[in-house]
Amino acid sequence: MAAVCVSRSGETVLTCNPHLPPGWAQEEVSTGTTIMAVEFDGGVVIGADSRTTTGAYIANRVTDKLTFIHDHIFCCRSGSAADTQAIADVVNYQLSFHSIELDEPPLVQTAANLFKELCYRYREDLTAGIIVAGWDKRKGGQVYTVPMGGMIVRQSFSIGGSGSTYIYGYVDSSYKPGMTKEECLEFTANAISLAMERDGSSGGVIRLAAITEAGVERKVILGSELPRFTVS
C-alpha cells in the first residue's frame, strides 16, 4: 500500500500508513563505497573510504571496511553492509577452522574461494562486492576480486564499490607494475581520495593497510591530510 508522497518542499513524507517505517529506514544500509587493493613484491596494500549510508543519510562516517579474515588476509567490503558483514563472519570462521586443521597459515586463494562459494551460491539473495587481499608463503602478495554474481579473478590491482567508477581513468593511467609498498600506498590514497571527491556514497577518512610477511600495518588519513587535486 502506498505510504509516501512528495510534499511541496520536495521531501518524501508519510501519508496513509503511520505504522510503516519512514522512507530512509526502508533503504538498506549500504557501504556505498570506494575500495581498492594493490599487489606489490612482498605483500599488498588495501584501502577504503569510511562512509556508510542509509539512502542519503550517513549512518556511520568512520566505518572500517577493511575486515580481518586472518593474520595475513583481509577483505574490502562493498555493497550491503549486512550482507558483507555476515559473509565475512562466515568466512572468518571457516578459515580459522581450516587453518587449525592444517596447522599452517591459510592461503589467500583459499580465503578468496570461500568468499566465492558463498557469493556464487547465494547470488540471488546477496548484494556484495568483495576484494580479498593478503600475503601467503606460496604466492606472496595477492589480490582476488569477487564481484556481484560470484565470479573470482586474481588481479594485480582491483577497485570496487560505487566510487570506483569515477577512478577507472585515474588508475589505468597511473598504475605501473613493480611499484614499491610506499608507491602503492600513495597510488591507493590518491585514487580513493579522487573517488571520495566525486561519489556521494563515499567519503569520510581513508583507511589503509599494508599486509606483508611481517604483519599488518594500519593507517588512517583524516580530512585535512587527504590528497588534494583541485583548489576549489
Binding site: 556464487y120 547470488r123 564481484p147 554474481g149 565470479m151 579473478v153 588481479q155
Partner: protein, 215 residues
C-alpha cells in the same frame, strides 16, 4: 553480473577452431580485460562460453572435476565431444526447467575418430551442430560472413579457418560495443588441443578521414 560477448566456432579439414575475446563486461563497463572464456575439456574437446562469467566458472569447475573422475576410473575412456555436448544440453535444459538457468551460450568443439565436431548449447537448452557457429553479436555479424565462405568451400584448411575467424573478430571489434581487441583462439586436431593468445586485430580507420560533419 559480469558477462562475455560473442564466441565463434568454425570446422576445418582436420579439426575445429573456436575464438573469443578476453573481456568480462559489467554492464557497459569493460571491467576485466584479461579473462579467458575458452577452456580445454580434454585432448579431443574444447569449449567457449559467452554470457555470465560466474556461471561459466562454475561449469568449468564441474567439467574439470568430471574429467578428473573419469581419468581416475582408469579405463582408458574419455568423454567424446558429442557426449559432452549431449550432457551439457541436459544440464542446461534441466536448469532452465527449474527456472534457474546457467546464463550462458556455450560453443563446444572437438575432434574424435577422425571427425570434426562443432556444437552449440544455450541457457534455454537449445542445442544444435553446424559447420560454423557464432553466439551473441556474432550471430548477426560473423555468422553470415562464415557461412558465405563455407557454403562455397565447405572444406577449409587450418589457415583459411584462422583467417576467417580473425576477419570476423575484427568486424565484431568494429561493431560490437561490448567487445575488446584482445582474443584467444583454441584449436583441436588429431594432435590435441592448443589455446593460443592473447592476440589483437589490426584495425583500419582510414575511412574516418573521408567523413566530416554529419550531412
Amino acid at each position: 553480473m559480469v558477462t562475455g560477448t560473442s564466441v565463434l566456432g568454425v570446422k576445418f579439414n582436420g579439426g575445429v577452431m573456436i575464438a573469443a575475446d578476453m573481456l568480462g563486461s559489467y554492464g557497459s563497463l569493460a571491467r576485466f580485460r584479461s579473462i579467458s572464456r575458452l577452456m580445454k575439456v580434454n585432448d579431443c574437446t574444447i569449449l567457449g562460453a559467452s554470457g555470465d562469467y560466474a556461471d561459466y566458472q562454475y561449469l568449468k569447475q564441474v567439467i574439470e572435476q568430471m574429467v578428473i573422475d573419469e581419468e581416475l576410473l582408469g579405463d582408458g575412456h574419455h568423454y567424446s565431444p558429442k557426449a559432452m555436448h549431449s550432457w551439457l544440453t541436459r544440464v542446461m535444459y534441466n536448469r532452465r526447467t527449474r527456472m534457474n538457468p546457467l546464463w550462458n551460450t556455450v560453443v563446444l568443439g572437438g575432434f574424435y575418430n577422425g571427425e570434426s565436431f562443432l556444437g552449440y548449447v544455450d541457457k534455454l537448452g537449445v542445442a544444435y551442430e553446424s559447420p560454423s557457429i557464432a553466439t551473441g553479436f556474432g550471430a548477426y555479424l560473423a555468422q553470415p560472413l562464415m557461412r558465405e565462405v563455407m557454403e562455397t568451400k565447405p572444406d577449409l584448411s587450418r589457415d583459411e579457418a584462422r583467417q576467417l575467424i580473425e576477419r570476423c573478430l575484427k568486424v565484431l571489434y568494429y561493431r560490437d560495443a561490448r567487445s575488446y581487441n584482445k582474443f584467444e583462439i583454441a584449436t583441436v586436431t588429431e594432435g590435441g588441443v592448443e589455446i593460443e593468445g592473447p592476440f589483437s586485430s589490426e584495425t583500419n580507420w582510414d575511412i574516418a578521414h573521408m567523413v566530416s560533419g554529419f550531412e
